[in-house]
């Protein structure tokens, strides 16, 4: 009975864990096939497609007017952006004029939507770090106010259907602008509040610093965009690089990650972006012109000219592209989405290899993937 129990004759094996699609922390229905050596991840394979709703196909089989109501669901946390990308592409084909007031309203609601999306991200990111019941709910307080404001102009809280081809559908009342201004005045204080709890929290720092370092070159190779890319220090923001709408008239700087592209940098980048968006909202409110809001009549048989157009905008998650081919009928001939989450998710395995299980969710949370946006 003198068998020695040493590491040489102790049989160890890699364990395969199927994380998701029903895992509480995979932001919906992502499935990760993990090979674990103890707690260390040796291999990752993301399996996507559980939330595939054939958004592109639906766009080709519904009229443009109908499809406008559907595209908010491509990325349900930033509906304004998906609407905007589609509207831009169609306007490019049609050549219809977008009145300046509509342009400003679009920028205004988009920046508000960027804040609401980042707020939800902040909450879920903290849940991913394991703060299950505490401050994750604070951001929802502000998000609630934003959703109420959206409800007032669009009639809906998440699926807005507000930005249409040729402009926006409703002109807000003057009181609405007052409410938005009030929000922008309160909001920096709230961000300070979150930062006071989170940013210098020693456990958060331990969990995020030097975790999931995204190299610039790797980020380029995978086509990562948005705050995840800017967290690595790359100054690439379509609002600056390829300005659209009224962004050339607005005055702002793009916040960049200061460190080396780790999880904390991406977190910080989004926090700064929220402050930035708040300033942009203020500028939009100040410069808001009077006039028409819709350059194209919204009827059930809405048609655009034949042709093809591509638009790319800076959504909260990165570069959101929409490619539309129209043959002049009331349906689009072909629609293709370039979704930021899809490309950002591709970089996940290279970040996870060699990290412990606990880091999976911290890293996954920090690149802010929305599964409907991945699967469409």
């Amino acid at each position: 009975m003198a068998t020695e129990l040493t590491t040489t004759n102790l049989k160890t094996d890699e364990m395969i864990i199927n994380m998701g699609p029903q895992h509480p922390a995979t932001h919906g229905v992502l499935r990760l096939i993990l090979k674990l050596d103890g707690e260390i991840v040796r291999h990752v394979e993301p399996v996507i497609g559980h939330l595939h709703r054939a958004q592109e196909w639906q766009g080709q089989n519904r009229t443009l007017f109908q499809y406008q109501a559907l595209i908010d669901r491509v990325d349900y946390l930033s509906g304004m952006f998906t609407s905007l990308a589609f509207a831009h592409a169609c306007e490019q084909i049609d050549g219809c004029e977008v009145p300046p007031r509509a342009q400003y309203l679009r920028a205004l609601v988009c920046e508000m939507n960027r804040i609401s999306s980042h707020l939800l991200w902040l909450g879920t990111f903290l849940i991913d770090l394991g703060a299950l019941f505490g401050f994750p709910f604070y951001p929802f307080r502000e998000r609630e106010k934003l959703l109420d404001l959206f409800e007032e102009i669009a009639g809906q809280r998440m699926m807005f259907n507000y930005i249409r081809i040729g402009g926006v559908i409703r002109d807000p009342k003057p009181t609405w602008f007052e409410k938005v201004r009030k929000f922008t005045q309160e909001f920096p204080d709230r961000i300070d509040e979150y930062e006071a709890i989170v940013t210098q929290n020693p456990i958060v720092l331990k969990r995020t610093k030097d975790v999931g370092i995204l190299d610039k070159q790797v980020a380029f190779d995978y086509g990562v965009s948005g705050p995840s890319l800017r967290g690595s220090g790359v100054n690439y923001d379509l609002r600056k690089v390829r300005p659209y709408g009224i962004y050339p008239d607005l005055n702002f700087d793009v916040p960049l990650g200061q460190n080396k592209g780790d999880t904390w940098d991406r977190y910080m980048c989004r926090i700064l972006e929220m402050r930035q968006s708040n300033e942009l909202i203020k500028q939009c409110l100040d410069k808001m012109p009077e006039g028409e809001i819709l350059g194209k009549k919204q009827i059930a048989g809405l048609r655009i000219k034949a042709g093809e157009g591509f638009s790319a905008i800076e959504s909260p998650r990165g570069v959101l592209g929409c490619y539309v081919i129209s043959n002049g009928s009331d349906k689009a001939y072909r629609i293709k989405w370039r979704n930021p989450s899809f490309c950002n998710l591709a970089v996940l395995p290279s970040l996870l290899i060699g990290r412990p299980i606990s880091d999976i969710m911290a890293i996954f949370g920090s690149i802010d993937v929305i599964l409907p946006d991945v699967d469409r």
Binding site: M15, I17, H23, P24, A25, E39, L126, I127, D128, L129, G130, A131, L132, F133, G134, F135, P136, F137, Y138, R141, I197, N201, I203, V204, K206, R207, P356, I357, S358, D359, I360, M361
Partner: protein, 466 residues
């Protein structure tokens, strides 16, 4: 700025209502078994048989008290946790079942009892069933020595007076991890397995600082008996173990002597601090530092011991679904849940007994004496109250003042610590497993050894006469 004062009011009301429910029911059970039934038996006749039967019921009292207390208390704590977290996070919390959500957890308990009890395919049925029992049992027998300390050594609970009480409790508190590992292993689920193994590693690491910090107090109190430890701390907050483990009790006596205008105040000071020099001051400060550090280390290690955030790695929801209890449902899950909250309560009450003076009032005795002698209105009122209540106390055992005040302060202290744990849960994210290990082995254990050393040095060298 308090914007939700209405919610705060509802929260306090909830606490008061539930605490009354808990303690009235526990008192009723104790009264029944410790007093009423034995008296009825004895009134039926005399002789060895009747004496034996009466004594048997009296001996059962502590067990009955705990069995009544644990489920109701766990329900209350779950509700407090949910409502408390809601309060911290600007939400409403459960407020539908019963008046203002008071019965929410009772409804949850009933629901869990009637749910299907599933044993997953490929699971080891025996171990799977045994795990919640092993997890839960220590919280019953481990909390028994506490009873005497909590109730001011009431004669109902005299049987629970163990000479090595704290040792027994610490030993009992290390058993549940066996249940966790067992449940994780038997579940035939990889998440459960990882959770169970994490729990084992964590429990082993964090028991050492936990015990070392308690050992400091045991050394300063020169006893392992919880009743002796709590008796040493009576007479105001200056005597509590958290403030130097009795290092300030000389000051307490001195202040009392000064206030009473006694002439031998200086002698008292001399008696308690024989080496009347700057070194004594340093030693007292070192002792207070050591015990305060030990207290916070105990809280940290206890948080890890009962798997609370930020140390809830065994059930890390965002990583391991629900860790070791992923596969459990129905009554077995309810037992896990029950034991978890009971363990939290037990570590909180150990902290109160060991550090915060158990059932003793925080108001210094000399202040009480001074008020009673110099403010006639208060003492008159007290006398009237005593006269009014004394028939009740004497004849029906209803309000034994010593027990009542002891339990009263104990409840306040323990639930303050529980609420502190809720606040921590609402504030901090989770550690990683390697950071957790580092924190224990590289920080907590060296510091706790250092604290122990400082305590021995200060006490042994400078307080030899005490």
């Amino acid at each position: 700025m308090l914007t939700n004062s209405n919610e705060l009011f509802k929260f306090s009301r909830l606490i008061i209502v539930w605490l009354s429910i808990i303690f009235i029911s526990v008192w009723a059970a104790c009264y029944l078994f410790g007093f009423l039934i034995p008296h009825i038996i004895l009134s039926m006749g005399s002789g060895d048989v009747f004496n034996f039967a009466a004594q048997l019921f009296q001996y059962l009292t502590p067990v009955i008290a705990i069995l009544v207390f644990i489920p109701i208390n766990a329900m209350f704590m779950v509700l407090v946790e949910r409502r408390g977290l809601a309060l911290f996070t600007v939400r409403m919390g459960p407020n539908r079942v019963g008046p203002d959500g008071l019965l929410q957890t009772a409804a949850d308990a009933v629901k869990l009892l009637f749910k299907e009890d599933i044993i997953p395919t490929g699971a080891d049925g025996l171990l799977f069933t045994l795990a919640p029992i092993i997890f839960f049992a220590p919280s019953i027998f481990g909390s028994i020595p506490l009873l005497a300390a909590i109730t001011g050594n009431s004669d109902w609970f005299a049987i629970t007076n163990l000479p090595t009480g704290i040792f027994f409790m610490v030993a009992a508190s290390s058993v549940p991890v066996v249940g966790i590992v067992m449940g994780g292993w038997a579940s035939n689920n990889k998440y459960s397995l990882v959770g169970g193994l994490r729990s084992a590693a964590q429990a082993i690491s964090y028991e050492i600082p936990l015990v070392l910090s308690l050992l400091t107090i045991c050394y300063l109190s020169q006893s392992l008996n919880v009743i002796e430890i709590s008796d040493r701390q009576t007479g105001g907050f200056l005597n509590w173990n958290i403030f130097g483990g009795g290092a300030l009790s000389g000051l307490d006596k001195y202040l009392a002597a000064v206030i009473n205008g006694s002439e031998n105040a200086g002698e008292i000071l001399k008696m308690y601090y024989p080496q009347n020099s700057i070194l004594t001051v340093i030693a007292v400060i070192a002792l207070i530092f050591a015990t305060v550090t030990a207290f916070f280390m105990y809280l940290t290690a206890a948080c890890a011991e009962v798997n609370r955030i930020p140390f809830d790695l065994p059930e890390a929801e965002s990583e391991l679904v629900s860790g070791y209890n992923t596969e459990y449902s129905g009554i077995k899950f309810a037992i896990f849940f029950l034991a978890e909250f009971t363990n939290l309560f037990i570590v909180a009450s150990i902290a109160s007994v060991m550090f915060l003076g158990a059932g003793s009032s925080p108001i210094p005795q000399f202040v009480v004496d001074y008020v009673l002698t110099h403010v006639p209105a208060v003492s008159g009122l007290l006398n009237q109250l005593t006269a009014l209540l004394s028939p009740l106390m004497n004849q029906f055992y209803i309000l034994n003042p010593a027990t009542f005040w002891s339990v009263f302060w104990m409840v306040i202290k323990t639930y303050s610590l529980v609420l502190f744990a809720v606040l921590v849960r609402g504030t901090l994210p989770r550690f990683k497993i390697d950071q957790l290990m580092d924190f224990s082995w590289k920080r907590l254990i060296p510091i706790s050894l250092l604290v122990f050393f400082i305590a021995i040095l200060s006490k042994g060298v400078f307080f030899t006469n005490v």
